[in-house]
Subunit: 300 residues, 2 copies
């Protein structure tokens, strides 16, 4: 018997998980669908997911959607074909019905008001914006610009609403010309900041929807001869790695990326266990944390 085992080991035999999957209808594979693997925000949540899923015996497979509608649809079908046991998705074009139609347990990454029957884990964007504006106000800023990331997804709008809510609550006057809608990357930040700095009266501080945008804004401010934070403060949201490397280093609201990943993984594991049981959908919004670095200061 021992010799048989030895022989088995020597021949490099690996259990055929294909056959097992055919029999058990479980693949021990989950798919993580992301709009853009290039965005430095995701790798860390991916790591949180992986660390939990690994422990539960699952392999995590990444799908790179690249903001494409067709690819997102296609990967949803691929997930069905592969018979993956679960899905993590930051949905862009896809609707909740389409996700549910796969009949694969899924957890939504991010805030998607349209997904009411699904587990969802994101960060508390409203709170992040509130805290950020509060901080800028405390520094003495009154004239605050907003570089508002905008995509097909609704989160852009909710950010805008948070912004106006805060202004109303603090009895500050709003300046519509200080709110600029931009794409979610650094090009958007560059274009948006250029517009803000071409105003006759520029803002004393600028808050961006994410760090990529803020970094683009920083770059443009520098090019146009403005000193940050002396002439204008700039602040981001996310706390991606690059935010600590810029000069000046970026003040930002840190999202608990790793924890988001962990929490999502735990939700999916539960969901996969209670298969026929109708577990109520849970949504969790992780709190953000102010990280003060060098890109913000009191107005001149």
């Amino acid at each position: 018997v021992q010799r048989v085992f030895a022989a088995i080991a020597n021949l490099g035999y690996e259990h055929n998980s294909i056959a097992r999957s055919l029999r058990t209808d479980r693949t021990q594979i989950v798919m993580l669908m992301l709009p853009d693997i290039t965005n430095p925000f995701w790798p860390e949540v991916a790591r949180g997911i992986q660390d939990i899923m690994d422990g539960a015996g699952y392999s995590v497979v990444f799908a790179n959607i690249d903001w494409s509608d067709a690819r997102e649809q296609e990967f949803l079908r691929t997930a069905m074909r592969m018979r993956v046991d679960g899905i993590f998705i930051n949905p862009i074009h896809v609707t909740e019905d389409q996700v549910l139609a796969t009949r694969i347990p899924a957890v939504i990454l991010g805030n998607r008001p349209g997904f009411r029957k699904s587990d969802m884990v994101g960060s508390d964007t409203e709170m992040a914006i509130h805290k950020a504006l509060e901080y800028l106000l405390r520094l003495g800023h009154q004239r605050i610009g907003l570089l508002l990331g905008r995509s097909e997804v609704t989160s852009g709008f909710s950010r805008q609403r948070s912004f106006y809510e805060f202004f109303a609550k603090n009895q500050l006057e709003t300046h519509p010309e200080l709110v600029v809608e931009v794409t979610f990357d650094n090009h958007g930040g560059e274009r948006g900041m250029r517009r803000l700095l071409e105003l006759s009266e520029i803002p004393t501080a600028v808050l961006a929807s994410n760090d990529l945008i803020a970094l683009g804004a920083l770059q443009v401010a520098h090019e146009m001869g403005y000193q940050v934070p002396k002439d204008v403060s700039i602040m981001g949201i996310d706390d991606i790695h690059a935010a600590s490397l810029s000069i000046p280093a970026l003040t930002t609201m840190r999202k608990p990326k790793y924890e988001i990943g962990q929490k999502a993984a735990r939700l999916l594991l539960e969901r996969m266990q209670n298969t026929n049981d109708s577990l109520a959908p849970r949504i969790s919004k992780c709190p953000c944390q102010l990280v003060v670095r060098a890109s913000t200061a009191p107005p001149a």
Copy 2:
């Protein structure tokens, strides 16, 4: 018959690729094994790989090794268990024999002298260093520091050799104290740069093994009150996205990341077709390109 098809479509039926794989012994899945999904270098080569593999009907699965020996071994076994049709790997601890033992067609990403029987596609590091040093020399720099990324892998050593070769060829005197070995991340760059700037006579230019290191160095130079590039020039290698966002933007050697991915994918496809045929191992080193930005200038 049409009604049957309609019913099939409505029920969201997807072909069971598990059963097919069991029968055909092909999964149409390839695995991409990376040491650190967080490093902004990889996403773009991943995209090159995906675009080609997608076209050939393969799904690309990412494995995040996280620099861990155990995980690397484990994922190699997972690849066998999953019966993936091919592997892309940037190997860290794993030997060529271990990869060959899986009997899965593989392409090596990067330069690994130890892998003599495998297809390999990386960038021409020697040439990159040569071109970089040549450029700094042309600017008038004589006293050049080197922040040498160091890992278990041998590429660090070959970079060091390129460095000394270049100095010998140009009859420049070498200063051993100007060569500092650091880890491959921005912390390494910070620590290394601090050491260089604490020397009684600091270098007029610093070349780093990658952009992450260079960005860390930039940060420290700024903290310690040195102006870049006036007081000291800093240069990186890779041209990651963040390199264009730093202030000053980083001069660097651009590696053709997307093309590397494409070429690797094409090699793997060939290798998977000529299964029993003994195709000779091909190694390709993609040329790097100088990208001049704002972090380099003639010495004061």
